[in-house]
C-alpha cells in the first residue's frame, strides 16, 4: 500500500535520478553526501540512502524551478564555505571535515537564531548576527542547511523504508486503523 502511495506522489520512475532535469552531477553528489550525514545508514537501521532521499528531492526540484535555484545556490555556498575554510570543495573533504563543517553551521545557526528573552541575550544575538551574517556572510548557508535538514527528514520519514524500520502502519487514510491493532508490523 505504502509503495503505491509513494509511486502516486513521486511517479513510478521518481526514484531514478533525473540529473539532467534538476541538479548537476556535483550538486547531486553533494546532496547525496549531505543526506547521508543527516540520516546515516547503520548496520541495523536504514538511512537516507536506503530511502532514496536524494533522488526524491531531485525529482521534486525538477518540478519546482524556484526550489531548484535555491538548492543550486545553497549547494554552491557549501562548496564556497569548504574552499574558504579548508581550501578545497565540499566533496573533496574528508568525512570528518564534512562533519566538522555542518557542525559549525549548526553552531552558527543556534547563535544567530537563539531564543533571547533578556536584553543581554538580545544584544549577544545581534552581535552574532552581525559577525556571522553580515561580516562572514554565512546566513544563506545556514538557512539552506536548515531547509535541507527539514527536506531530508521529511522525505526519509515519509518513506516505507522508514516506516518498516519504525513499525509504522502508514498514513491514516484511506484504510484507518480499525482492527489493525495487531497488524503484521506490530
Amino acid at each position: 500500500m505504502e509503495k503505491e502511495i509513494e509511486s502516486k506522489i513521486f511517479g513510478r520512475d521518481g526514484l531514478q535520478h533525473k540529473e539532467d532535469r534538476a541538479l548537476s552531477s556535483t550538486e547531486y553528489a553533494s546532496l547525496v553526501t549531505l543526506a547521508a550525514i543527516v540520516l546515516p545508514s547503520e548496520a541495523n537501521s536504514p538511512g537516507a540512502m536506503e530511502a532514496a532521499v536524494a533522488q526524491k528531492i531531485t525529482a521534486l526540484l525538477a518540478q519546482d524551478p524556484s526550489m531548484r535555484n535555491l538548492y543550486a545556490a545553497g549547494l554552491s555556498s557549501f562548496s564556497r564555505l569548504a574552499e574558504s575554510r579548508y581550501g578545497t570543495g565540499f566533496l573533496s573533504l574528508a568525512p570528518s571535515q564534512q562533519l566538522e563543517l555542518v557542525t559549525f553551521l549548526d553552531t552558527v545557526g543556534k547563535a544567530i537564531y537563539a531564543e533571547a528573552s533578556t536584553f543581554t541575550a538580545r544584544v549577544r544575538r545581534k552581535l552574532h548576527y552581525w559577525y556571522y551574517g553580515n561580516w562572514l556572510g554565512l546566513t544563506p548557508t545556514v538557512d539552506f542547511w536548515r531547509q535541507l535538514q527539514s527536506d531530508i527528514v521529511t522525505q526519509f520519514y515519509a518513506s516505507s523504508v522508514a516506516w518498516d524500520w519504525l513499525g509504522y502502519d502508514g498514513p491514516p487514510f484511506p484504510l484507518g486503523y480499525v482492527n489493525r491493532f495487531n497488524s503484521p508490523r506490530s
Binding site: T154, Y157, G167, P172, P174, Y177
Partner: protein
C-alpha cells in the same frame, strides 16, 4: 429575509438548521471559506503532517490579526464553514449540574440564569444529531450529569495510551472512562463510522467526525431555506429609530460592501469576534457598542486553564492509531473542601502529532543521535492534559485595538487574559495530579511539561454573558440581548462560567434552545 446569522460554526450552524426547518428564510455569513474534505484534508499522503494545517490559514494573513496584553494570547480558531469544529478532537462532555450554580454552591462567580435540567433536552437533541459516542454501561463516567437518553452510538475502544494511564488511575482510586466524542462509532446520518485514523485535528477526510459542516450545515442547506455565504465578513449591525436591528453590513470576498436586512440577527462568531462586532457597531443610541448598555460586552473573557505533560513509556503504544482522546478522568472536577480554591479540572489522555515526520521534527538535530532518539520516542509517547475551570474576571476582556486594523480596515480585537486569584491557586494542583498519574502509571521519562499559556486552550467564553439583570449581563436566559429585542447571541460568549468541560456541545445545545425560542417568538409575532 427572516434572519441573518453571523458565523457558521458550532452555534450558527445549529440556529440556521433549526430555523430553516421551521420554515424561516436564513442567510448565514462566514468570514472563511468552505472546505472540501477530499481535496483539502490530505491525510492520505505519506508526508501529510507537513503543511496539513495550511489549508486553514487565510490567503491574506492580515485577516486574522489581533493584539494581546502583556501576558500574550495564542488565538487559535478556524474561520470557515464549520468553524473550529472542523479541527476539533470531537471531545463532547456535558457541563455538570453544579456548573450552572457555582455562586450558590461555592460562593464564587455567578449562577447561570438556567439550570442543567432546562438544557438537558437540548443536549440530548444535539447528541442525536451528531451521533455522539459514549458509554452508558460499566465504563461510563460516574460523574456524568443525568441523561434522559443513552448515547446514540457506542464508545470508541480505549487506545493503548488510554489503557496505560487508566490502569495507573485506578491504582489511585480514580475513575477513567472513554469520553463522549462527536465521532460516531457506527454509520450515522448518512456518514460512515469512524475508522480510528486519529487525524481529527486536521479535518476528517471521510466526514466521519461530526463537525458542523457535515452535520448541521448539510441539514440547514437541505431545507432550501438557508443560504450560506462564505468569505463574507460582517462589519456592522445597524439599528433603526425603534431600537431594533435593521441590517447587517458586510464585505464579500472581493472586498465589496453589502447590506442585508432581516427581522432578526443572530451573532455566533465566537467569544472574541462576536463582542468585536458589537463594539464595532456604534450608533447614537449605543455609542459604546451595540447592546452594551451594561458595559459588559467583551468583558469576563474566560477560557480553560490548560497544563500538560508529555511522557515516554517503554511499552509500545501504537499511538498513531485511534481517536486523539480516548481516556478522561473527572474525579477532580468538583469543589473539594480541603482545596485552597474553588471548582476543579478534568484530565485527558491524548495522542497527537505521533506520526514519524512529526516525531522526527520535534526531536530535531541529525545524525545517529537523531535517529536513536526518534526510535526511542516513536510509538511510545502520550500526553496528559489537565483542563481546569478559570473563574470569570472582568479584567480579562476583548476590546478594539486603537491602532491595528485587519485586511478590511477594521480594528482588530485586543485580548487580555491571564489566570488570577483562584486560578493561580488551582494550577499547581492540576500539574501535581498529572505528575502523580504519570508516576503511578510507570512512565519511563517525562519529556516535558507546560504551564498555562493564555489562549492555548482554544476554549473562549463569557464575553457577552447571560443573566437576569440587564445591568450585570448582556443577554437574557434565551440568548436575546437585553437592549435590542431582535438581536440574539448563540455562541460561547453567553456562558456565565466555563466549567471544565469542552464547550462545543454546550454551545450547540444553547443554540438549539435559542432557535426554539426564536421560532416561538416568530409564531407569536414578536419578531
Amino acid at each position: 429575509m427572516d434572519v441573518v446569522v453571523v458565523g457558521c460554526g458550532a452555534g450558527g450552524s445549529v440556529v440556521a438548521k433549526e430555523l430553516g426547518e421551521a420554515g424561516m428564510s436564513v442567510i448565514v455569513l462566514d468570514a472563511g471559506r468552505r472546505f472540501n474534505p477530499e481535496r483539502d484534508y490530505r491525510s492520505d499522503r505519506p508526508d501529510f503532517p507537513v503543511g496539513a494545517w495550511k489549508v486553514f490559514e487565510p490567503e491574506d494573513p492580515r485577516r486574522d490579526l489581533y493584539t494581546a496584553g502583556p501576558q500574550g494570547f495564542r488565538y487559535v480558531r478556524v474561520k470557515g464553514i464549520g468553524g473550529t469544529t472542523v479541527v476539533s478532537w470531537g471531545v463532547s462532555p456535558r457541563l455538570h449540574e453544579s456548573d450552572f450554580r457555582v455562586r450558590s454552591e461555592d460562593g464564587v462567580a455567578d449562577d447561570w440564569p438556567l439550570s442543567y435540567a432546562e438544557l438537558e433536552p437540548y443536549y440530548t437533541r444535539v447528541e442525536y444529531e451528531l451521533g455522539v459516542s459514549g458509554s452508558d454501561g460499566d465504563g461510563r463516567n460516574p460523574f456524568d450529569s443525568p441523561r434522559s437518553k443513552p448515547f446514540p452510538t457506542p464508545p470508541h475502544p480505549m487506545t493503548r495510551a488510554g489503557e496505560v494511564i487508566a490502569q495507573g488511575a485506578r491504582k489511585l482510586g480514580l475513575h477513567p472512562f472513554v469520553p463522549a466524542l462527536a465521532i460516531p462509532t457506527t454509520n450515522w446520518g448518512g456518514r460512515p463510522a469512524c475508522i480510528e485514523a486519529g487525524v481529527c485535528g486536521y479535518g476528517c477526510r471521510i466526514s466521519a467526525k461530526s463537525s458542523a459542516d457535515v452535520t448541521y450545515v448539510r441539514k440547514a442547506e437541505a431545507t432550501g431555506k438557508v443560504t450560506i455565504l462564505e468569505s463574507c465578513t460582517a462589519r456592522e449591525i445597524t439599528i433603526n429609530s425603534s431600537n431594533r436591528v435593521r441590517s447587517v453590513v458586510f464585505f464579500d470576498g472581493e472586498g465589496r460592501e453589502h447590506e442585508v436586512r432581516a427581522r432578526a440577527v443572530v451573532l455566533a462568531a465566537n467569544a472574541i469576534e462576536t463582542p468585536r462586532l458589537l463594539l464595532l457597531s456604534t450608533s447614537r443610541l449605543y455609542p459604546n457598542g451595540l447592546a452594551n448598555s451594561s458595559g459588559l460586552v467583551g468583558k469576563y473573557l474566560t477560557e480553560h486553564l490548560d497544563v500538560g505533560a508529555r511522557a515516554r513509556f517503554a511499552l509500545p503504544l501504537k499511538n498513531w492509531q485511534g481517536v486523539p482522546v480516548s481516556a478522561m478522568i473527572q474525579d477532580y472536577y468538583e469543589t473539594r473542601k480541603d482545596n485552597p480554591f474553588a471548582r476543579g479540572w478534568l484530565l485527558e489522555v491524548a495522542t497527537a502529532n505521533t506520526w514519524p515526520i512529526a516525531v522526527a521534527k520535534r526531536v530535531g538535530g541529525w545524525g545517529v543521535a537523531h535517529k536513536t532518539r526518534v526510535r526511542e520516542l516513536f510509538g511510545h509517547v502520550l500526553e496528559v492534559y489537565a483542563q481546569g475551570e478559570q473563574l470569570p474576571d472582568i479584567r480579562n476582556q476583548v476590546s478594539l485595538d486603537q491602532t491595528v486594523t485587519d485586511h478590511l480596515g477594521l480594528p482588530v480585537p485586543h485580548i487580555v487574559s491571564k489566570p488570577r486569584g483562584n486560578d493561580l491557586a488551582m494550577l499547581p494542583a492540576m500539574m501535581r495530579s498529572i505528575r502523580e498519574l504519570l508516576q503511578v502509571s510507570r512512565a519511563d521519562e517525562i519529556l516535558d511539561s507546560w504551564s498555562h499559556q493564555p489562549g492555548a486552550s482554544i476554549h473562549y467564553m463569557g464575553t457577552c454573558r447571560m443573566g437576569t439583570d440587564p445591568r450585570k449581563s448582556v443577554t437574557d436566559r434565551w440568548g436575546r440581548t437585553h437592549d435590542v429585542a431582535n438581536l440574539f447571541i448563540a455562541d460561547s460568549s453567553t456562558f456565565v462560567t466555563g466549567g471544565a468541560a469542552h464547550p462545543s456541545l454546550t454551545i450547540m445545545a444553547l443554540a438549539a434552545r435559542t432557535a426554539a425560542y426564536m421560532v416561538e417568538l416568530f409564531k407569536r409575532g414578536d419578531l
